[in-house]
């Protein structure tokens, strides 16, 4: 275990945000889910007691009949905002006094940095380059992620769960978004803490060896199937991807129609909404990790090879 190596990566000023993320994301997940649990208990209580549902104020926060339902923005909201601004300024000041922004040697096109890493928020994209060609990892996949985020509200047809934390009423969308968010953070972690010189895999704490040579034979799917004819190889690739989409789509369908409540929401979804959901779920949430595993565990580089592009 090379602690000095690990420390040199963790303590890099530009990596502090990732360390912060490792603390903040679990904290806020716990903070949100704790309120979700409280809401879920309230929902169960109200569902079993319809007369209480008629009179209850239906929030997990205390309320008494005499209390005003609304507060003046001045001072009750503005003072919170003002306080937040002061705290953020203080944190930022202390952070800026204690840690210096990195500055390296002047730009030199003749001296390539190794490893040369993107800024931390884009390291996830850079890590995807291992698993896909640049046109897919660098252009198509980011576009799909952005479009996928934008269609999110249009394919989530569940009318419940607006404006309060709940797991019970919104398990599927939370699962979908959660998997995507975790995947994104996982990619950033791999790219930052695992990838070393030559973008090779060094476990955290393993010494970076700049002279290391990895003897790694990558196969394509057609090689494994011992297909030499490019046409047959391409057909096999299309078939494999088709099979993957069918099987995963079937699995996701089973998942989103598992309970009676889920089937009720599914009944409110039209064909276009459902197919859009399936496309993004299969491609990003399952396809990306599946290709990662194929590459990391089985050294499979391409599934589909054509004269114009490879996947």
């Amino acid at each position: 275990m090379d602690w000095a190596q690990l420390w040199s990566i963790v303590s890099l000023p530009d990596n502090i945000p990732i360390v912060a993320l490792a603390v903040l994301v679990p904290f806020y997940t716990w903070y949100g889910l704790r309120q979700a649990q409280a809401t879920d208990r309230l929902i169960t209580q109200l569902e079993s007691n319809p007369s209480l549902a008629q009179t209850h104020h239906r929030k997990i926060y205390p309320f008494q009949p005499g209390w005003a339902r609304e507060l003046q923005v001045w001072p009750y909201l503005l003072r919170v905002e003002f306080l937040a601004a002061i705290i953020v300024t203080l944190v930022l000041m202390i952070w800026s006094i204690t840690l210096n922004a990195p500055l390296e040697e002047p730009a030199n096109p003749n001296h390539t940095m190794n490893p040369s890493k993107a800024p931390w928020y884009f390291v996830g994209l850079q890590e995807m380059l291992v698993y896909f060609d640049p046109w897919f990892a660098g252009v198509v996949l980011p576009t799909l992620i952005v479009v996928g985020l934008m269609v999110f509200p249009y394919i989530d047809t569940n009318p419940l769960g607006v404006g309060y934390y709940t797991i019970k009423q919104r398990l599927i969308p939370l699962l979908g978004f959660g998997v995507g968010f975790l995947l994104w953070i996982l990619l950033i972690f791999i790219g930052t803490f695992v990838r070393g010189p030559g973008w090779m895999w060094f476990w955290p704490g393993q010494t970076w060896d700049h002279t290391r040579v990895m003897y790694e034979v990558n196969h394509n799917l057609s090689d494994l199937l011992r297909i030499t004819n490019p046409w047959l190889g391409a057909i096999a690739g299309v078939a494999a991807i088709g099979l993957f989409y069918t099987v995963t789509g079937w699995g996701i369908h089973k998942l989103v129609t598992r309970t009676r409540f889920d089937r009720k929401i599914y009944g409110r979804t039209n064909l276009l909404q459902y197919l859009t959901f399936q496309f993004f779920a299969i491609t990003i949430l399952v396809g990306l990790p599946a290709k990662m595993l194929l590459r990391l565990l089985f050294n499979i580089k391409y599934v589909l090879i054509t004269p114009w592009f490879n996947i």
Binding site: W74, L78, F152, P159
Partner: protein
Amino acid sequence: MESGRPDEESNIALKEKIREDWKELREDLKEPQKTQLWKSVFRVKHERADPRTRALGVLTNVFLHLHPARVNRDAVRYSYTWGMGGITFYLFIVLTFTGVLLMFYYHPTKIQAFRDILFLEHDVPFGKLLRNMHRWAAHLMIITLWLHMFRVVLTGSYKKPREFNWCVGVILLVLTLLLSFTGYLLPDDQLGFWAVTVGTNMARATPLLGSEGPLGPQLGMTPFNDVRFALLGGSIVDANALLRAYIWHCIAIPLIAGVFMGVHFWRVRKDGGISGPAPVMLESEIKPVLRR
């Protein structure tokens, strides 16, 4: 010597006048809110702490007018909103402020850029602090933005009627990442240079529009006319790329982001204020779908 007497009289009158004006001024200082100067700036009297004055205080103030006069009593709870959207906006303001100050010390040219950073760090008073604050605020802004998004998902706030505002938010996310990325090149050091080289090399592989992307060469794309060339203003990361990054970073993207932010905040109000904490809805209360 005849003129001495009237002079003395007018002196006495003047003294009297000054004494009275002084007295008036002292009265004004005791209650500055009654002066013309004060009233011309602040239109609303804040004599009583009644709901109406407090509401008007918010509504008649240009900096506060995006707020409603009153909010849901639980909406001010930190536990619900986490304050991340507001903090993100505040960090944008901090970044604009520190960014403008940094612009005074920076030339976007290959000869001067790196030296300007050295000068900023070693000679400009508080220059290092200024640069550090700009850098860390940018990183912090990305974190708070992601957490804001996370909260919106957890509370289902992107749903009807706020679908469009969620899309505006996603665009703001992309713009924020681009702002950060364009800023990365500006110190013109190895870190920025190679990060931007790696980043823009991907543009080479853009389908149809990149010289090495699928179907790009077939459409006549070369390293000298593809989308990467447009981003860099050349075929390598050099002086033109630095200038382009600078203009995108300091002028174009902040302006575009400013417009989208305006829409984002406006829509928060127009879509019914922040989403909650709302009363829970039960499964038995779902209304059937209305098919058009």
